[in-house]
Symmetry: D5
Subunit: 149 residues, 10 copies
Amino acid sequence: MKRSEVTEKILDAKRLKGLSWKEIAKKIDPKQSEIFLTAGLLGQMKLTPDQAKKTAKLFGLGKLEEILLTEAPYRGSLPPGPPTDPLIYRFYELVQVYGTTWKELIQEEFGDGIMSAIDFNMTMDRQPDPKGDRVKIVMTGKFLDYKRY
Amino acid sequence: MKRSEVTEKILDAKRLKGLSWKEIAKKIDPKQSEIFLTAGLLGQMKLTPDQAKKTAKLFGLGKLEEILLTEAPYRGSLPPGPPTDPLIYRFYELVQVYGTTWKELIQEEFGDGIMSAIDFNMTMDRQPDPKGDRVKIVMTGKFLDYKRY
Amino acid sequence: MKRSEVTEKILDAKRLKGLSWKEIAKKIDPKQSEIFLTAGLLGQMKLTPDQAKKTAKLFGLGKLEEILLTEAPYRGSLPPGPPTDPLIYRFYELVQVYGTTWKELIQEEFGDGIMSAIDFNMTMDRQPDPKGDRVKIVMTGKFLDYKRY
Amino acid sequence: MKRSEVTEKILDAKRLKGLSWKEIAKKIDPKQSEIFLTAGLLGQMKLTPDQAKKTAKLFGLGKLEEILLTEAPYRGSLPPGPPTDPLIYRFYELVQVYGTTWKELIQEEFGDGIMSAIDFNMTMDRQPDPKGDRVKIVMTGKFLDYKRY
Amino acid sequence: MKRSEVTEKILDAKRLKGLSWKEIAKKIDPKQSEIFLTAGLLGQMKLTPDQAKKTAKLFGLGKLEEILLTEAPYRGSLPPGPPTDPLIYRFYELVQVYGTTWKELIQEEFGDGIMSAIDFNMTMDRQPDPKGDRVKIVMTGKFLDYKRY
Amino acid sequence: MKRSEVTEKILDAKRLKGLSWKEIAKKIDPKQSEIFLTAGLLGQMKLTPDQAKKTAKLFGLGKLEEILLTEAPYRGSLPPGPPTDPLIYRFYELVQVYGTTWKELIQEEFGDGIMSAIDFNMTMDRQPDPKGDRVKIVMTGKFLDYKRY
Amino acid sequence: MKRSEVTEKILDAKRLKGLSWKEIAKKIDPKQSEIFLTAGLLGQMKLTPDQAKKTAKLFGLGKLEEILLTEAPYRGSLPPGPPTDPLIYRFYELVQVYGTTWKELIQEEFGDGIMSAIDFNMTMDRQPDPKGDRVKIVMTGKFLDYKRY
Amino acid sequence: MKRSEVTEKILDAKRLKGLSWKEIAKKIDPKQSEIFLTAGLLGQMKLTPDQAKKTAKLFGLGKLEEILLTEAPYRGSLPPGPPTDPLIYRFYELVQVYGTTWKELIQEEFGDGIMSAIDFNMTMDRQPDPKGDRVKIVMTGKFLDYKRY
Amino acid sequence: MKRSEVTEKILDAKRLKGLSWKEIAKKIDPKQSEIFLTAGLLGQMKLTPDQAKKTAKLFGLGKLEEILLTEAPYRGSLPPGPPTDPLIYRFYELVQVYGTTWKELIQEEFGDGIMSAIDFNMTMDRQPDPKGDRVKIVMTGKFLDYKRY
Amino acid sequence: MKRSEVTEKILDAKRLKGLSWKEIAKKIDPKQSEIFLTAGLLGQMKLTPDQAKKTAKLFGLGKLEEILLTEAPYRGSLPPGPPTDPLIYRFYELVQVYGTTWKELIQEEFGDGIMSAIDFNMTMDRQPDPKGDRVKIVMTGKFLDYKRY
C-alpha cells in the first residue's frame, strides 16, 4: 500500500463528513500545529502513534493505513515539473524571483550556510486589510553553518 | 545589453567597494525595503529613476545601464531545473513538501483563489535562539479571489 | 477519488445524452458564463453547491462526486510538455511568438505588473467572415501593479 | 548575424532615445498595428522593406541588419521551459487552465479544426474600471477545418 | 472512457479477425483515404457518424465507443520525448535534419507563412525499384500567409 | 571552427548579395537538387570538393571554411525540444499525429522494417490551387527490412 | 492488449518453468540467433508465425497473444531518460564517450553515411581471461551511404 | 582553458594539414589503438606525456594545451538529450532496442554484474560484403560481479 | 509480475509484523550485511536462493515472488528527476557539490579511472556526538583503471 | 566576473605550475582538510580571507578574484542532467540504487529526519588491497530531526 492511497482515502472521508482541516486538527491533536497535521494527513509528515490512531478512528482506516501514517513518508507532494496549479505556482514563482536575493541577504547576515527546512516551522494567518485581506505566512528555520573541516 | 550584464557589473563594483547590501540600500533609498532593493539590483525588480541614478553614481554605471535598471526585467533569477544551490534549494523543497498543504489551508480560510506574488511584500530577520539563531521570513500577499463570470 | 475521474464520468454521460456544452450550461446555471461552467465541468473551476447539485442530478453522479465539484481543483488540464493537440498548441504558439510583445506593450501602457489570470474573464464567439468565419476571443484581466515595499 | 542581435541593438537604441513602442510604430508605419510592428522589432515578424529601411534609419542599423528585418525569423521569443517572467507566465497558465475548454467549445461551435495562429490578429487596450483598470485583449483567428481526404 | 481504450479495442478485434487496414478501410468507407481512416481508427481523426457506425458493427463496439469515434480526439499518438520506434524516429530525424531547409525554401517560394497541417492530405505508395523498393509519400498542404494587420 | 559558424557566414553573405537559394544552387551545381544543396549550405549535408570550392568563391570563405563544407556534419538543425518556429513545428506535428499511422501502413505493405532517411530523396513544389496554392512535398526512401539473424 | 503485457506473461512463465533463454531459444527455433529470439520475447522483434505458435504453446499463451508476437512492435525497451540499471547504463556511457569517435572513424573509412541498425546482427560470447572473463560483443551493420540527389 | 577548446584546435589543424586519423595515430603512437587515440584527441581519453608532446608538435599547440591532453577529461562527447546525428543515434537506438536483451543474456551467462566500460577495448573494421560492405565492431569488457558483502 | 510489486508486499508485511530491518536481516541471513539485504528487499539487489526462501516464508510470499527475489533486478529505486525526498536529496546534493572534487582527488591519487559501484561495499553507523549524534557512512569501492589499448 | 571564471584561472595556473591539490592545500592552509580546500578552489566552498590571499598570491589572481573566493558561491559543480563523466556518474548511481535503503536504515536508527549535508565532513583514502587498491570514503553528517511544531 502506498502513502498516497491513504491520503486519497482521508480526503474522501473528509469530504463525506464535511469536516474542515481546523476541525480535524482539533480532534486529532489540539496541541500540534494545524499546518503540521494537515501536511501529515496529506502524506508529507509522520504522525505520532496516538495521532495516527485517532486519525484511523475518525476516518475509518484499517491497521495497515494507521501504521503508514506513523512512517516518515517519501516526501514531495507535487507532480514533476513546475506546479500547474496557480496557488502553488505563485510560491514557486517566489523562488524564481527571490532566490538569489534570499541567498545574498541571509548569507550577509548569518555567514555561509542555509536556513533549515527540517528544523523549521510555519504559521499562516489572515491579515485583515481594507484593500483586501492578505495571507500572512511566517516561517522560521534554524540557520545552519557550513561546517569547515 | 542584457539586464544580467548590469547585475554582474553591480556585483563586481560592490565587491571592490566592500559594501554590504544593507549599506547600499541605505545609500540608494533608505525608505524602500532592503529586500526589494536588493532584488532590483540583482535584476528582478524595477528601480525608480531616482534610485537608478543613485545606483549608477555609486557603482559607476553608464547611461544605458541606468535606464535598464528602470525597466521591468524579464524576471527569473535561476538557471533552469531545480536550484542546485543548497540555500535556495531549501525554499524549493518547501514548495515540494508544503505545496498541497498551502493550497488546502489557504483555500479553506479564504475560498478559491491565490495569494498574490505581485501585491506582495516580505521581511527577513534574525531571530535569536539559544539553540542556534533562526532565519525568520514574513510574507504577506493579497488574497485574490478567482473571479466567477 | 480524483477530480479527473469526475470529469471522465461527466464526459461519458454527456456523450450518451447527446447534450452540447451550451445546453448543459443552460440547465445548470443560465446566469454563469458557458466558458466558466465548461471549465468547471472539465475539472478546472469550482462550482457552487447549487451548480454541483444540478450537475450531479443531470449526469447521475454520487454524493462524493458532487462534493468534489465544489472544491477548488488542482488546476492544469494538460499532460506535461508542450500540448500535442493542434487546436491547443496554437494557443501555446501564441505565447511563444507574442510573449515578449505582450510584456513590452502591457508594461508600456500600465507600468510594472501583470494581467491577472485570476480576476479574469473571457468570451468566445463566431465572427462571420466571407473568407471563412473566425474565432473571436476576448479576454480581460485586472492589471495588478507590482507592489513596492 | 542572428536576428536576436538585431533585436538587442534595437532595444538599446530605443532605451537611449527614450521612445515608446507607440511612438516608434507611428514613425515606422502608422497604418500597421502597433502589436504587429512591436513583434517584428522583437524578432518575431517580418517587416516590409520600407518598414525595415525606416527602422534602420531611426535606430542607426547597418545594411545587413536592415535585410534581416525583412526575413521571416525563426520564431519563438522565450527561453525553453515554462516562462519564468510573471506577466508572460500568466498567459501560459491560461493555456494550462483553459486548454481543454477552448478545444471543447471551439469544436462544438465550428466542428473539427483549429483557430489559426497565422491568419490571426490581435488588439490590446486599457479598459477603465473603478475597481482597477483591466487589460483587454481581443484575438481573432480564422477557423480552419481539418480537411477530410 | 478514453479514446485510447477504443483504439486498443479496435486493434485487438482487428488482430483476431485477421483484417488488414486496406480491407477495413474498404468496408468502412471506400471513398475516404485509407490513411485518413487508419489515423481515425488509431485515435487521431474524427470519423463521420456513418463511418463510426460501420466501425462499431465491424468490431463489436458499444454505443459510447461509437460516439467517441465521432469526436475530435486530443491528438498526439506518441509517448513524450523523441519517438523510440525506429520507423517513426526516421520521420522525426527528417524534421531535425531538414527543418531549416524546409523553412528557407518554402518561404523563398511562397513568402512568410506555413504549410498547413490541417488543410493537408497525404498518400503513401510502394515505388518499385530494382535496388530495393521504396516508400513514396506525397503530402500537400495549403500555404497559409502570415496575416499582416 | 564550428560548422554553424560557416552557416552563419554563408547566410550573411547571401543576404548582402541578395541571392536566392535557387540562384545559389544553379551557380554551385545545377545538377544537384536544390534541396540537397540548401541543406548542405545550412550545415546538414556534405558538399563535394568542387561544390565547396565554388561556394567558397561565391561567398568569400577561407580555406578552413571550405574544408568544413566537405565534411559530414554533426547533423541536427534545430535547438533542443519541440521546434518553436510555426513552419517547422507543423512537420513535427505531422509526426505526432501520423506517427503510428505510418508505422501501421508501411509495415502492412512492406513487412517489418523502416523507410530509410539516408537512402532518401525529396522534392518540393508549388501546386497551384484556386482555393490557395499548396506546398507539395514528395519523399521517397528505400524500404529496409529488419534483418533476421 | 499491449505487447508489454505479453512480455510480462512470458517472463512469469519462464520463471516458473525454470528455463534459460538458451533453452527457450532452442525449443522455439534452433536456427535463429538466441539474441534475436530473446529480443523478440522481450517485445522488441517480430517472431515468425511458427515461432509464435511454439512460444504460445511453451508458455500457455492465448490466440491474441500469439498474434501480437508476430507483429512489428513499437520498439524501445527502456523507461524515458538515461537508463538507471548499471548494466544497461554502461552501454549508454559508451555512446556518450565514443559517439564522436565512431562518427569520425566510420566516416573516414566509409564516407558519409551510417552503420545500419536495421540490416544489423550481433553475437555475444564469454571470452575466458585469467584476469577475469570478458563479455565479447560483435556487431556488424551494413554501411548505408547518404544518398546524393 | 577547456578541453573542448583543445579539441576544436586539433580539428582545425587536422583539416588544414589534410591528415586522416589513421595517419595521425601512426605519427603519435603506432602502438596504441587508433580508436583510443582518436577518442583522446576528441577529448575523451587521457594521452601519455609522450603522446601529448607529439600531438602538440604535430598540431602546433601550446604548453597549457599539451598538459590538458594528459589530464583525465570530464567525459561525455555529446550535447544533452538523445543524439541528433544519425550515425551516432543508431548506436543510441541499439541501447533502446537491445538494452533489456543484453541484461538478460549477460546475466544469464555470467551472473549478477556488468560489462565494464572502463576495463574495455574495441576494434572497428570494414567487412567486405557483396550486398554492401559492413561496419564490424568488436567490444570486450571485463565482467564485474556485483560484490556481496 | 514486477519486482516493485514484490517490494510493496514485503513492506506491507513488515509493517503488520512490526519488524525492523535489523531484525529481518538477522532472520534471513545474519552473515550478510544489513545494508545489502535491505537493498535486496527493496528491489535493488539479488538474494541467494536460500535468502529468498527465508524471505518468502517470513512474509508469506508465493513461488513466483520468491524466484523474482533471486533475479538481478532492473536497478534504480527513485522516480525520474532529482529526488524530492529531503533525506535522499541531501545525497544527490553531495554529488552536485562534491562531484568535481571527487574526480580531481581520486584521479590525483589513483590515476585515470573510477571507483567501482559494483565491487563496492558500505557500512552505516551512529556516531555519538555531544552536539548531536552523527550519521557515519563508510564506502569502499575498488579503483578501476581506464584500460589503455 | 563569475566564480567559474576564477575556477578556470586556478586550474590553468595549477597546470602550468605542475602542482598537485595536496601540495596546494599544504601551501594555502595545512590545517584545513584537503577535500574542503579543493572544493573551495573548484568554486564550491568559501575560503577564509587568509586562504584567499594565499591562493591569489600562489596563482597570480587579482583583487576581484580574491574577493570572489571569500564569497559563498552559487553551489553546483555539474552541468544539468545526470553526470556524463563515469567517475562522477558512479556516485549518482549509488543514489539511484541505495537511495531508498539509506532512507529506511537511517530513519529506522535515528527517527524522522535527515543527514545534514551542511554540518558534514568527509575524508578520502587509499585502502591497499591485494586484489586491487580501493577508494575509501568516510562521511559523517549531523542527524537533524524533523521538527514537530
